[in-house]
């Protein structure tokens, strides 16, 4: 990929529209840049003539705190939004890595799936409206500022996860929910062979943790002592009463699974949780690639182990995070130096997809990333997706080649 020569940062929707339309007419290819925290997702763009950054589209347009909704420009960092919401007792479960850099628009465009979604719903379910600039410069709005709206197609949700290939998000309107008053983090080392049982116990809890992970590796990046087969980390959220009961239930459930000792952390629990989310995309430069597999809760642990074994059989170091509640398995494979890594990664990628076709790349600066199956197996409806792309961006102006199937 050639380095983009030019970069613009329009400060208004109108200026964004003008810049996009000009490129579309002149045949220039546009790379869209938010905070670039998820730049490790997707294929590298096949050509870039101009980078359009949303950095200058920064700020809250409306904060209707009594309605539990807000509207913000797409380049607004998530941390700014979360700080504003926390000040009024509200939150949105963005749960994206590096929220001080990650932008609202970039996080939505990447369709980021956070670990608390089983509990609070997907981030996309919070989007109640949007303004988007399409490839020909059209400024189109969808939805509004109300929490229930079935006025036409839910275009905002179609744009979420579209990786900027249908248009450039300029604004998003979201609903918020009340912030759970307390948070508590559970940490325990996992003795050998307790993984499956621990996972089953966690998933069956009456008061479900807001997030629960089985973690193997990621020393220093994630809290907790490493056990023989890693560690378990769970976030509880709610009232004091809920936390008290949930703590008892979680302790005894893990005890039944053979996890003897647990420690709890009240101060800094959410920060420790955020470090797990950061680790999803923690890259070792050119000597690591991180995969994510969306699985089912009752299959995720097994899938995580399988990914780990495939890494081992290719003599790559494997580190895993299994999101027990949603059924996601994250694997980072790495080697001591980029040369050794480069020699193994393509064969590993092939073996991984032979076993688990849906695994996607979410992080890593490997120079041959274009050779990996970064989106996993093509979805059944790929041809329909291509048709949508052709109808929205016929000249392939926006982020060409980055998305599924080279869209």
């Amino acid at each position: 990929m050639s380095a983009p020569r030019e970069r613009v940062a329009p400060a208004t929707v109108k200026a964004l529209s003008t810049a996009v339309a000009r490129c579309d007419r002149s045949g220039h290819k546009v790379r869209i840049a938010g905070g670039e925290t998820l730049a490790g997702m997707g294929f590298p763009a096949e050509r870039v003539d101009l980078t359009i950054a949303t950095a200058a589209l920064n700020g809250v347009i409306a904060n209707e705190r009594a309605d539990l909704v807000f509207a913000a420009k797409s380049g607004t960092p998530l941390a700014d939004l979360s700080a504003m919401l926390a000040g009024q007792g509200q939150f949105v479960p963005f749960d994206a890595p590096h929220p001080q850099y990650a932008t609202l628009g970039g996080t939505l465009a990447a369709g980021w799936l956070g670990p608390r979604r089983h509990c609070y719903g997907r981030l996309r379910d919070y989007v109640i409206g949007s303004t988007i600039v399409l490839a020909d410069g059209t400024i189109a709005r969808a939805g509004g500022m109300v929490v229930k709206n079935v006025t036409g197609y839910d275009m905002s949700r179609l744009y979420v996860g579209s990786f900027g290939t249908l248009g450039v998000l300029a604004q998003a309107n979201l609903k918020t929910i009340p912030m759970p008053p307390q948070a508590r983090l559970f940490l325990a080392a996992l003795p050998e062979r307790t993984r499956e049982r621990a996972c089953a116990q966690l998933a069956a809890l009456a008061i479900r943790p807001a997030a629960a992970f089985l973690i193997d590796g990621f020393h220093h990046a994630i809290d907790g002592e490493e056990g023989a087969e890693g560690r378990v980390l769970a976030l509880l959220e709610g009232s004091d009463a809920t936390l008290e009961r949930a703590t008892l239930e979680l302790r005894s459930a893990l005890g039944r699974a053979g996890v003897p000792e647990t420690s709890v952390l009240d101060a800094g629990a959410r920060e420790a949780f955020a470090r797990v989310v950061d680790a999803y995309v923690a890259s070792l430069g050119e000597r690591s690639v991180t995969y994510r597999l969306a699985s089912l809760p009752d299959e995720a642990v097994r899938d995580g182990l399988r990914m780990h074994e495939i890494a081992r059989s290719h003599e790559l170091r494997g580190e895993t995070i299994v999101d027990v509640m949603n059924g996601d398995a994250v694997l980072r494979v790495s080697d001591a130096d980029s040369h050794a890594f480069g020699a193994k990664i393509e064969a590993f990628d092939e073996a991984l997809h032979a076993a688990l076709p849906r695994a996607c790349v979410i992080a890593g600066n490997h120079p041959h990333r274009a050779a990996l199956q970064v989106w996993g197996v093509a979805p059944e409806a790929l041809e329909r997706m291509r048709a949508l792309k052709a109808r929205f961006d016929p000249n392939r102006t926006l982020n060409p080649g980055r998305f599924v199937g080279g869209i």
Partner: protein, 462 residues
Amino acid sequence: MTLHERLIEALGRDAVKIAPEDLAVYAFDAYTESGTPSAVVLPASTRDVSAIVKIARDCGEPIVARGAGTGLCGGAVPMTGGIVLSFARMNRVLALDERNRRAHVQPGLINLDLSRHAAPSGLFYAPDPSSQKISTIGGNIATNAGGPHCLSYGTTGHHVLSLEVVDASGEVFATSVDDVGYDLTAALVGSEGTLGIVTAAWVRLTALPESVRVAVAAFDDVESASAAVSAIVAAGILPTALEMMDAVITKVVEAAFHAGYPADAAAVLLVENAGVDEDVRAAEAVIQSIAIKHGARSWRSAADAGEREALWAGRKGAAGATGRIAPNYYTQDVCVPRSKLPIALRAVGAAALANGITVGNVFHAGDGNLHPLLMYDKRDRRQVAAVVETGNAILQSAIDLGGTISGEHGIGWEKRDAMTRVYSTEDLAAMGRVRDVFDPARALNPEKIFPSGARCPEVVPP
């Protein structure tokens, strides 16, 4: 072969209805206007649906998919004729995956039947439109149906995991929210049968809460009750459901159901909290104090499940109970920012008064989703005109308050021309691009959602 012969050949005589009296039954949904279909078909499988769509395409017939026909905006009415495809025979739960909390269902499955089916596993299907005893999951998906409990659980779209769809050419395809690529599931939910015909779905199930408490607060005026709702939400409390009924509705509900509402109240709030018992009790106490601060003259918590269910039965049967006041009612559906509820209700009252129409309000107050019921007698043309006028004024007042023209019933035929009041030509053209991809010939539920006459402008690639 004629259309009828081809359909009978493909599906069998028993699955094709062509007698005038049968066609007349499918000419309506719960909206007032009708359109007679050229045939009604009752497929038993996805393959049947696919065959029907292919025959329809060959014969140039549009297709209108239909669940239970409870839609209020004419979405299931074949306004320009064509084939009505009823899912009455595809109404089963195909699989219940207890551990992963999901179910695989056919579109004709009745909403409440799914919750009943899942109850022994400690699970339920959260979206609960008031029509849930008869409306179908497929119809709910088409309209992205809401319901009282959407306040905390979200609308239908938040509970759909994957779809099996027959497209406008009869091909079958699958979408899943876990798929990489564009979220076609999100595009299809709420598309009112204009992008494809859903033939199966995996939907999310939710754990039954360990504790549920329902309470009723009575107020001496609508204003105070709606101010209380705004204050509860502004205080950062989202109960599981927060419903309101005014005097007109409370009176008929009590007369019809003896549900336990104070029949002489000017407005009542129905408040449900669910979850961990301690939290439920704490939330109820806070809500009670806010209600009393805003002038609630009484507060009563349901003592047991029987009382809770009676209150809910009254609430969900409210629209039907208005038969005691007038032979017909028209339900408007608008959504406003929740802090604007008091103003919105005042506007509703003013519009009804100006047109001499009796209005009853029963609605999802916590979401700002209003349902004014306008009472009338359809034999009286002046009353019909007054209802149309009132409905329009309510739409406009919602738009003026920053709201929208449908919170949960959909656009269908009824509101398609009002779409231009909330969306620009460009906004609608973006939706039109999606339609172009899925249904270029406009054969699926034509003349719905999009404004009549003025077609969406073609976007010509440069």
